[in-house]
Amino acid sequence: MPQFELANFAPQMVWLCIAFAILFFGIVMPTLPKLGRVVQARADKVTGDIDSAAKAKADADRIEADYAAGIASAQESARATLDAARGSAAAALDAKLAQSKAALGARAEAADKALGAARAKAMGEIERVAADAATQIVEKLTGTRPDADTATGAARAALA
């Protein structure tokens, strides 16, 4: 086997060292670090982009939360205003109702009183007419004219 002929060792080992030195110092070192920097720059850019995207998302989330809070507080104040308006309207209505009730009561009372007076007057009138009629009837039937007090008392008793 040529692999185990010792004469072949020295030139191959020396040439391997030469070739590997050329490879490492002349080919890999001038090229590979350039690539490493680009790969690093790309990784940095990607992480930077992801970071800024995350920040933008956080901003958006915060704005959305602000917006929701604003809407909620606006709704709350609107509801409060509405409640206050409703309360004051109800109070005003109650006051107006009470006022008109009182006015109406007064008028009803006055009307009642007037009605009572009218009735009493009418009753007096009827008694007088009835007493008159009774006096004339008794005079016609008996020839004697009852005195006015008796006639009036009888008429009142009959009407009561």
Partner: protein
């Protein structure tokens, strides 16, 4: 028929003799030539892929980045954050072994696979071993020797384990080298043997060609397998290098 010996493909041929320096033969051989071809291929690949690196990569850059990312994640897994400095080294090892393995599989062009020679894999393993030793003693000084003393072991057990740990540590470059060399050699021998079967059975005179089809089909499947092994062995070599580096960087 020439070339029937399956070992002939591993023969070293001196293409340009260079006189020995300090008693060491430096002749330019077919092995040296294919190392330089691998260098040229890797250089074209890397320089084209990183000529104008952009945030959104082009085809070549994406191809280089795939291998780069693969090595980076391997180092992150096996070594951790301190391993980033050694990514170019492990990348060089991986791509060099991969290029040597795959280029050696090209048929008809007289391809030679330097990684099928234990001298080459051993030199590469010794480079890794040397770097592990330098990094280990550089970072930890004499504490690096505690690598051989498992953490929290009791003394009686430790005395038994110590020589085992030392031997297994010293054996690393050899196992690393032999694994790659043996895989490559076996694969190429197998391809060659089935190749000679194609010729031998296909030239059966009564019914020509027919019997050559079966070993040919096997060779096609083997070629795919060898391509896979070329990749896997490059990966294993780089992976073990990163694990050995981890010992030197993080100790335990």
């Amino acid at each position: 028929m020439a070339g029937n010996n399956p070992m002939e493909q591993f023969a070293i041929r001196v293409l340009h003799p260079i006189p020995p320096v300090a008693g060491v033969d430096l002749s330019f051989t077919n092995s040296s030539l294919w190392m330089l071809i691998a260098l040229a291929v890797v250089a074209v690949f890397l320089y084209a892929g990183t000529a104008r690196p952009t945030l959104v990569p082009g085809r070549m850059q994406a191809a280089v980045e795939t291998i780069y990312g693969f090595i980076v994640s391997m180092m992150d897994e096996n070594v951790g954050p301190n391993g980033r400095r050694f990514v170019p080294l492990i990348f060089s090892i991986f791509i060099f072994v991969l290029a040597l393995n795959i280029l050696g599989l090209i048929p008809w062009v007289g391809a030679f696979t330097p990684t099928s020679h234990v001298a080459v894999t051993l030199a590469l393993a010794f480079i890794i071993f040397g770097i592990v030793l330098i990094v280990g003693f550089w970072k930890h000084g004499l504490h690096f020797f505690t690598l051989f003393w498992p953490k929290g072991v009791n003394v009686a057990l430790g005395i038994v384990i110590l020589p085992i740990e030392v031997v297994s540590f010293l054996a690393r470059p050899f196992t690393l080298a032999v694994r790659l060399f043996a895989n490559m050699t076996a694969g190429h021998v197998l391809l060659k043997v089935f190749g000679t079967f194609v010729v031998a059975l296909g030239s059966f005179e009564a019914i020509p060609v027919v019997f050559g089809v079966l070993p040919l089909a096997v060779n096609v499947a083997l070629a795919a397998l060898e391509l896979l092994i070329a990749l896997i062995q490059a990966y294993v070599f780089a992976l073990l290098a990163s694990i050995y580096l981890n010992d030197a960087i993080n100790l335990h």
